[in-house]
Amino acid sequence: MIKAILIFNNHGKPRLIRFYQYFAEDMQQQIIRETFHLVSKRDDNVCNFLEGGSLIGGSDYKLIYRHYATLYFVFCVDSSESELGILDLIQVFVETLDKCFENVCELDLIFHMDKVHYILQEVVMGGMVLETNMNEIVAQVEVQNRMEKSESHMERMLLRRHLEPLSPHSHELG
């Protein structure tokens, strides 16, 4: 089981947090801080596993992380997960992000946290790995995005009918 997925930048600013076990908000922040503290002081060429932070789970849990440019992707997992498998999974996740955002960078994650969540939801569900095939993940994300678009398109049409006299491109103001 995956217990938590944390993405934060080189300064420890959270970009996405996803806990699969309930923690109160202040506890979540403390876990992020502690994890950042553990991970950030490590060289880039040392091992990507850390034995459990004391806050989550204890000795059965491991932190498995990868550092990409300005971002840390940290998965907290228990012993039922294969360490190297999770490393691969992080890679799949990041590649998927890259495909969906077209050359993903930290800013994408900052401004589209919700979209990142939706992508993650196609990879991991309730702490268990749902899909590891990138094409399948991307396909599902795209279908849902299209649905969203068509819904907003319908709304726009509806709007346009009522708003014609006001402003034809009003939706772009938002």
Binding site: P14, E25, Q28, N45, S82, L84, G85, M113, G126, L159
Partner: protein, 1280 residues
């Protein structure tokens, strides 16, 4: 309406969306909190609006704020509103927010049930998907209960996208609502073979999670997983399955054997490191589960170690350095697993591991340290620790250095200082460690110093000298504020110097050092020890000075105390103050006496007389309640007989000289005992490695000559250890090396001498090959005093599981669900609840049809559901049929192949022949399942193991069809140890065969089938004779293994007596199954039919009933009895625990049919399962037997039988026959015997006879079982 939409949209245009919020926060870095609070106010306003788009936008922003640590639970209701929007866009936002901030105590969750249910059944698969994803994060027990049925339906959805999500979420549902596991499991199992790989992977994932916590319940899925493993190409699925197998193998070693080959293939073929690593890991698990030392597995171990070595040392240029580091880390991790069972194969890679200590990655260094812990031996300890000390010097950063320090101490002190050959060296290591700056582990070093000084008597002189130096240079330790942690060492130093002050060279100087004003700056508890031990020292000093003619020295010492102590009297620490003032008064009084020239040293010394021995922390807890002592019983009742038993000598089975078994009277006995005890003590005292374990050690201590008399090898220290802080342990390494060389040379010399003396060449024990562990003699004759424990201390049993583990509730037996068709149908209460008023709307799966009945109270519905149920039953029946057919076919195939039909009897059609009608075990689902698994496992391609062969033979013997039985039973005879068979034994065998015939006649059975029982008893008898002399011994009296169970004027039920558990096959495969054969004999001259056998199940033991019958239904005996005919039926029982005997009440009902009338009759009986009946006579070789006894895992007990008048070999045969033992070795009137229970407990007996007294000493790993077996043996002999 239209206007409202327009208005809402316009509002929305001016609201911030998520991007605006983020941008805003980034632009307000200085007053972020303030900015956010205004944003939250805006959001609150937005949430008040009716427009769902506005609300959704607000909720989306809240989700972002939640990530920043803001509590947004106040908006929970709005989130629910957004969730229930009909638009996918908003729904998704709502569910995302809910999944981020809902939890079990969010009370609005209960409002969501219907909404979620609606979404789950939405025609749009993405609505369903979003709902499932959200639910997986916030499912509560209530939601799980209410929605389990809907989710289960979705597991068969047409879209794989939904199926895989539904399958995954079931795990969460199980966790929250364990009752759903049983009803849902068959479908979950189906999904393992789903055409979509994603769904398959999800099902594997869920079952692996379930099985990880309760592996035994999933053992029967092994064949399916095995198939998946060999067919799947999805690495993710493979990894999960292989991990699962790693958890299953410890439960079923045969599985491991089957796995080795495909795993090895994968290791060779895969390019994925993750898969390779998991394969290696599981191979290791397999090898651990198999008993080690099998030659054909050393190749696997070598392969693993080799691959791991590559993992550790190779760095792939294509990989990131961090990933290479990961491999290194994992390689070391796996190595440490191998190390536990195959230390030799890892130890050869010591170089590699020491190299890892230099790695820049701390976690790799720590792993390497862990490995070193297991790699040390007497030979290399000093060398390894020396390396570690170097690292201590180099290590920057206190955490790693502290880790090193604790590891050094762990390594040295492990298993009671097993690897330390030179304690002076160890003390100097400890002293060196005190130089560490800023360590937190001062107390650890201190406790080691105390422990070693107390327990290793021989080292005290040296330790005291070292401690005195430490005390003298205390300023070095305390001078720096940073060194606070290390001053704990002074606590130990002061105590050691005080307690063992008689060894001090210059006690006055040490006393002076302990009373320095600077001491007052130490922590209170250390000062207290200083004061107390100063008093001890003072006593010693007085003693030494009193001999002198000059009394001024003594008076000066007193004066010193009187001068210095007031400083402590003023201490702020109560303890220090109290002790100091007490001692000050005492010294003042002493001084007065001194001035009167009174000799008082003896009396002062008496204050501190006596020796302190360490007491184990658990000692009190482990005091066993003496046998026969009932703490609740009345005190006035007569005392129990337990005392006599307690006096029995405890050491049994130590190959005693024959003289011990000579007849002896009780008086002599006592004397003899005392003598032996004395001798033993002497021996122990001379044995440097004897570890005293009994509480009497204290006594022994004072009486025995003790270690003082043992010549201690004095080490001539070339460097006086005066200055602490100088590395000196190195000297020991050199000295040790020299000493060992010398030892070796000596040994060789002796060896030569010996060889000259003895030309026989027998005792070639000391092979002058490479130095082995045992060859290293300790430099010191040390006596490690273990912590005191009460006699018969109970084995530790502290590993309790966490009672809060949610997985405990999921420990549910799933076996009888495997065949879907409701062999043990789900009870109504087990079915997933469906809310009655919704029942019509809800999509229903066929499996749930029956539920409607419980839910619906209306008449019409009930009817329809009943109809449906009937339909379903029909369907099930059909399915079952086809399945059975298939099984038959499969079986047939195997028969043709000539393979053994392990456990196949369940499906075998009942064979009715005139001589025998074999009734196989009732075809219950469990047996079928289990036998399937067994069948699958029995094909394991590794028959090399003798035990395996034995199983096969046993299985063949017990195979159900009479042909097979009669065919193989004689075949199996050659399997008995043939070579030892002499003419005599053969003749005795003939004799026995005759007896067998007699018996058969007597019992009016000419059944071939029984061959194997008799053969079995033959085996026992045969073995009992094998080792003994047979010539003049009379033939064994006939023994029947059937006893009367119940009888009336119509029918007689006989049960196989001692051999009641005759079906060895069933037992060997399943440690909880017992087969009982019952012979029904028609005694009247009417026809008996419709016999039904029923037993009242107990908690522990249950009769296995066929599919579909309730727990109280009887079993139909599948034959009728014409007058005068007898027949046999077998019944399978499942036992939970076999350590105590069981009694089951039962009834046999039958119809007596005459020509003109028929009556219904019944017969009550009691089935008695003795503990003996759980034992299987298993041959055991004497060396294996000896090893078993030495292992120390066994508890012992003994029994004495008086007035046994039968010859010894009869006695043995009787034990063999009645109690299923086999003779291991027999010497004169002494024999060792062995047997094994169906759950693999070893039972060893040592039977000695003298006159009419037979004493049986016994050992077993399960004391309760042993006690019961002994009682039963006693019973057997009291009857004759």
């Amino acid at each position: 309406m239209a206007l409202k939409i327009v208005k809402g949209s316009i509002d929305r245009m001016f609201d911030k969306n998520l991007q605006d919020l983020v941008r805003g926060i980034r632009n307000h870095k200085e007053d972020e909190a303030k900015y956010i609070s205004t944003c939250i106010d805006e959001i609150k306003q937005e949430l008040k609006q009716d427009n769902i788009a506005v609300k959704a936008n607000a909720v989306c922003k809240l989700t972002y704020l939640q990530m920043l640590g803001y509590d947004v639970s106040w908006a929970a209701f709005n989130i629910v509103e957004v969730m229930s929007s009909s638009k996918f866009t908003y729904k998704r936002i709502g569910y995302l927010a809910a999944s981020q901030c809902f939890h079990e105590s969010t009370d609005v969750i209960m409002l969501t049930t219907n909404q979620i249910r609606k979404d789950l059944s939405s025609p749009n698969q993405y609505d369903t998907g979003v709902a499932l994803t959200g639910l997986s994060c916030f499912v509560t027990p209530d939601l799980a209960r209410d929605l389990a049925n809907d989710i289960m339906t979705l597991m068969s959805h047409t879209k794989p996208y939904i199926r895989k999500k539904a399958v995954l979420i079931m795990y969460k549902v199980f966790l929250k609502y364990p009752e759903s596991l049983r009803p849902a499991f068959p479908r979950l199992k189906e999904k393992l073979e789903d055409p979509d790989p994603g769904v398959q992977s999800a099902a594997v994932n869920v079952i692996c999670e379930l099985a990880r916590r309760n592996p035994k319940n999933y053992l029967s899925l092994a064949p399916l997983f095995f198939k998946l493993m060999t067919s799947s190409t999805n690495n993710w699925v493979l990894i999960k399955i292989i991990k699962l197998f790693g958890a299953l193998t410890p439960l079923e070693p045969r599985l491991g054997k089957k796995l080795i080959e495909p795993l090895t293939n994968l290791i060779h073929s895969t390019s994925a490191m993750s898969l390779l690593y998991e394969c290696v890991n599981t191979v290791i698990a397999v090898l651990i589960s198999l008993s080690s030392g099998m030659p054909n597995h050393s190749a696997s171990i070598q392969l693993c170690v080799q691959k791991l070595r590559i993992l550790i040392e190779d760095s792939d240029q294509n990989c990131e350095p961090s990933v290479n580091a990961c491999m290194k880390y994992l390689g070391l991790l796996a190595m440490s697993k191998i190390l536990k069972t195959h230390p030799k194969s890892v130890q050869s890679h010591k170089d590699l591991i020491l190299q890892c200590l230099d790695d820049k990655d701390e976690s790799i260094r720590l792993r390497a340290l862990d490995l070193l812990y297991g790699m040390v031996s007497k030979k290399n300890l000093m060398e390894i620790v020396k390396k570690l000390m170097l690292h201590v010097d180099k290590a920057e950063g206190t955490t790693y250095r502290d880790e090193l320090l604790t590891k050094i101490i762990d390594i040295c002190s492990q298993s009671n200082y097993q690897y330390i050959t030179n304690f002076e060296w160890y003390i100097s290591i400890l002293v060196e460690l005190t130089r560490l700056e800023g360590t937190r582990h001062g107390h650890l070093i201190a406790s080691q110093m105390l422990d070693v000084a107390i327990r290793v008597k021989a080292i005290r002189v040296f330790a005291v000298a070292q401690m005195a130096t430490l005390l003298d240079n205390a300023h070095l330790l305390t001078g720096n504020v940073q060194r606070k942690g290390i001053c704990e060492v002074l606590y130990a130093a002061a105590w050691i110097c005080g307690e063992f002050s008689e060894h001090l060279d210059n006690p006055t100087q040490t006393l002076e050092a302990m009373l320095r004003p600077k001491v007052a700056t130490l922590p209170g508890h250390i000062q207290a020890v200083y004061v107390q031990n100063a008093a001890k020292l003072f006593a010693t000093v007085l003693k030494s000075q009193e001999g002198n003619t000059d009394s001024t020295a003594a008076q000066e010492t007193s004066q010193l105390m009187i001068d210095r102590l007031p400083l402590f009297v003023q201490s702020a620490n109560l303890e220090v103050q109290e002790r100091a003032s007490c001692i000050l008064q005492l010294v003042k009084y002493i001084q007065k006496l001194q001035q009167k020239d009174v000799e008082i040293a003896e009396e002062v010394i008496a204050l501190f007389a006596g020796e302190l021995n360490p007491v184990a922390p658990k000692a009190q807890k482990k005091v066993p309640v003496p046998e026969g002592l009932d703490l609740d019983a009345w005190i006035n009742e007569p005392p129990s007989e337990s005392e006599s038993e307690d006096e029995q000598p405890r050491a049994i089975f130590a190959k005693e000289e024959p003289k011990h078994s000579r007849p002896r009277h009780t008086e002599v006995d006592e004397k003899e005992l005392a003598k032996r005890r004395e001798a033993r003590k002497q021996e122990q005292a001379n044995n440097p490695f004897y570890i005293k374990s009994s509480p009497s050690s204290q006594k022994v201590y004072q009486e025995a000559p003790g270690v003082e008399h043992i010549p201690v090898v004095q080490i001539d220290l070339s460097v006086p250890l005066k200055v602490p802080g100088l590395p000196m342990s190195d000297q020991y390494v050199k000295l040790e090396e020299e000493r060992r060389q010398k030892d070796r040379a000596d040994k060789k010399k002796k060896e030569k001498k010996k060889r000259k003396e003895k030309r026989s060449g027998r005792g070639k024990r000391h092979d002058s090959g490479p130095e082995s562990e045992e060859d290293i003699t300790p430099a010191h004759m040390v006596d490690i005093v273990t912590e005191e424990m009460p006699e018969n201390a109970l084995p530790s049993d502290d590993d309790d599981k966490d009672p809060n583990d949610p997985h405990k509730a999921l420990d549910i037996d799933l076996d009888n669900l495997m065949e879907m068709a409701g062999r043990r149908p789900l009870a109504d209460s087990e079915k997933l609840p469906v809310r009655s008023h919704r029942a019509a709307e809800v999509l229903k799966s066929p499996a749930q049809d029956g539920d409607a009945e419980s839910a619906a109270s209306q008449e019409p519905k009930k009817k329809s559901s009943k109809e449906k149920r009937e339909k379903k039953k029909d369907k099930d029946r059909d399915r079952k049929k086809s399945k059975e057919d298939k099984k038959k076919k499969k079986k047939h195939k195997h028969e043709e192949k000539g393979e053994d039909l392990l456990g196949g009897q369940a499906e075998e059609p009942v064979v009715q022949s005139e001589a025998t009608s074999e009734v196989a075990a009732p075809p219950t689902s469990t047996t079928a399942e289990v036998s399937d698994l067994d069948f699958w496992l029995s094909n394991a391609p590794v028959p090399s193991n003798t035990q395996e062969a034995a199983t096969v033979v046993a299985a063949a013997e017990a195979a159900p069809t009479s042909e097979v039985a009669s065919g193989t039973a004689p075949d199996s005879e050659p399997d008995e140890p043939k070579d030892t068979e002499t003419e005599e034994t053969k003749s005795s065998k003939h004799k026995k065969k005759k007896q067998k015939k007699e018996k058969e006649e007597k019992e009016k059975k000419k059944k071939k089938k029984h061959h194997h029982h008799h053969h079995h008893s033959d085996g026992g008898g045969e073995e009992s004779v094998q080792n003994g002399t047979v010539e003049e011994e009379e033939p064994l009296p006939p023994m029947s293994n059937y006893c009367l169970l119940a009888e009336n004027s119509y029918i007689k039920m006989m049960m196989e007596d001692a051999d009641k558990v005759n079906d060895i096959q069933g037992n060997l495969q399943d440690g909880s199954q017992v087969v009982v054969s019952v012979i029904f004999e028609n005694k009247c001259d009417s026809f008996l039919k419709s016999m039904e056998f029923n037993v009242l199940d107990s908690l522990n033991s249950k009769l296995q009933r066929p599919e579909g019958s309730g727990p109280h239904d009887g079993l139909t005996v599948p034959f009728q009895l014409p007058p005068g005919v007898s027949n046999e039926a077998r019944f399978v029982f499942t036992m939970q625990s076999i350590i105590t005997p069981q009694k089951l009440k039962g009834t046999l009902t039958f119809i007596v049919k005459n020509e003109d009338s028929s009556t219904h009759e019944k017969l009550d009986f009691k089935l008695h399962f003795t503990c003996t009946s759980y034992l299987i006579s298993t041959p055991c070789y004497s060396d294996a037997f000896a090893k078993l006894l030495e292992s120390g895992d066994l508890k012992c007990s003994s029994v004495k039988l008086e007035g046994v008048v039968m010859p010894f070999h009869h006695l043995l045969a009787r034990i063999c026959f009645r109690h299923h033992f086999s003779v291991v070795e027999r010497i004169d009137s002494c024999a060792s015997m062995y047997s094994r229970s169906i759950q693999d407990h070893h039972v060893c007996l040592l039977v000695k006879t003298s006159g009419q007294t037979v004493s049986i000493d016994a050992k077993c790993d399960e004391p309760t079982l042993l006690g019961n077996v002994l009682d039963e043996i006693k019973q057997t002999f009291s009857q004759c």
